[in-house]
Amino acid sequence: MSAASAPSAAVATTPDGSPALTVSGIDKSFGGIRALTGCSLIVTTGSITSLIGPNGSGKTTLFNCMTGFYRPERGEVYIRGIPVVGKRPSDIVHLGVMRTFQVTRLFRRMTVLENMIVPVRQLSLRSLFTAAIKGHERDRAEGLLEFVGLQGLRDHPAESLSFGQQKLLELAAALMAEPEILMLDEPAGGLNPVMIEKVAGHIRDLNARGMTFLIIEHNMGFVMDLCDPVIVIHRGTVIAQGSPEAVREDPIVLDAYLGD
């Protein structure tokens, strides 16, 4: 894919084999500690790709390098062929990529409903504070809040929600923007098992409509049921990737992560 190709406005409807996200030879260190070493991976358009690995293996650091929060010392990240290292997180959002965080980052004093509106009004800060929340926008926000069971808390400040509810709000808000590529950092963490299944079902539906997912998760039931391929990262580099079945049986993965 050419680095100069223009961003596609259309959402792909089937996995077409083209890369949605490409990470090429990334290094990232923190004060002498190597978090990522020559890390490379490809997320195919239309896939639900999972990124697993031990605590401290570099998963979240990789997310941060891919979304403009960190600048890697070496290597490049491409979003649908466009090099993005050096771009700001807001530029990445404009390329159709949204993400959530392991520890949620909400506007704590704003209400649940207001938090839902932030991602869709990002293009104009002024509209965020002046325009009323109504019409189609409000319907969509309320529909998503109902889906995650937060409709009754619509007018409560985000800080009044429990940890699990904040995770659900962040997920719902990310979905408001209808991104082409959604990166989720531990979406099942802190969620009730019934809600985890509901979220998995919703991800499947969105994926069927063309949304590409990259998901960091420790809940192996969730990963193995939902994701394909699974990419395993250990000590800052990819050590295995493939179908859930193949990864689950891989002796290198068993040794580094899954085995006793």
Partner: protein, 240 residues
Amino acid sequence: MLLEIEGLHAGYGGGDDVLRGVDIALAEGDFVCLIGPNGAGKSTLLRVVSGILRPRRGTIHFDGIDVAGRRPDLLFRLGIAHVPQGRSTFPQMTVHENLLMGAYSVRDHSLAREGLRAAAALFPIVIEQADRRAGLLSGGEQKQVEIARAIVTAPRLMLLDEPTLGLEPRAARTVMSKMRELNQQGMTILLVEQNARTGLGAARTGCVMELGTIKLRGEGQRLLDDPRVKRLYLGERAAV
């Protein structure tokens, strides 16, 4: 009963009650796991028991003493330790210094040393990594340091809020097996765990919490096998 709670109501600021009449009792040596939907009030209940949040109504007795609304430091001295959700190590301090912080309330130095020894016996990591800054440890290692810090004073009741959250599967299993060991040594544990199968499997007793009340209580394994509990709270598939 070591802990006896009746008709407990609590909430935040001017908001509605999150706890709406909780009744729960733990005998010495119990290991109870609280499960339930997000926002049911599980973490709030732990916060009220450890004194971080004042109750609005109801009674809490710990070892026969009325403790409702008492300050957290006083409750800690009485033997209630709380390991909250997320990370709570002092990241800039070494592992050993983190443990010393746990012993701050112990005036008798030999008792403190004894507590540190006991914590190290169950969590060898606090010796192996004693001089490392806690913030540099992995999530699973930090959680072990937090629990070790909480047991330095030999508390009688341990409140644990989702200790396996964000931990890789292996680390989650280690933390859970340490919980069982602590309980076998006689520690009373009240555990909140979203990973309900793991939590109920480790605990002797399970309680289902919903909308601020305890809806069901039963033997952990029995709840795991109950089709209604499965459908409403555990989901159909095996998690982790």
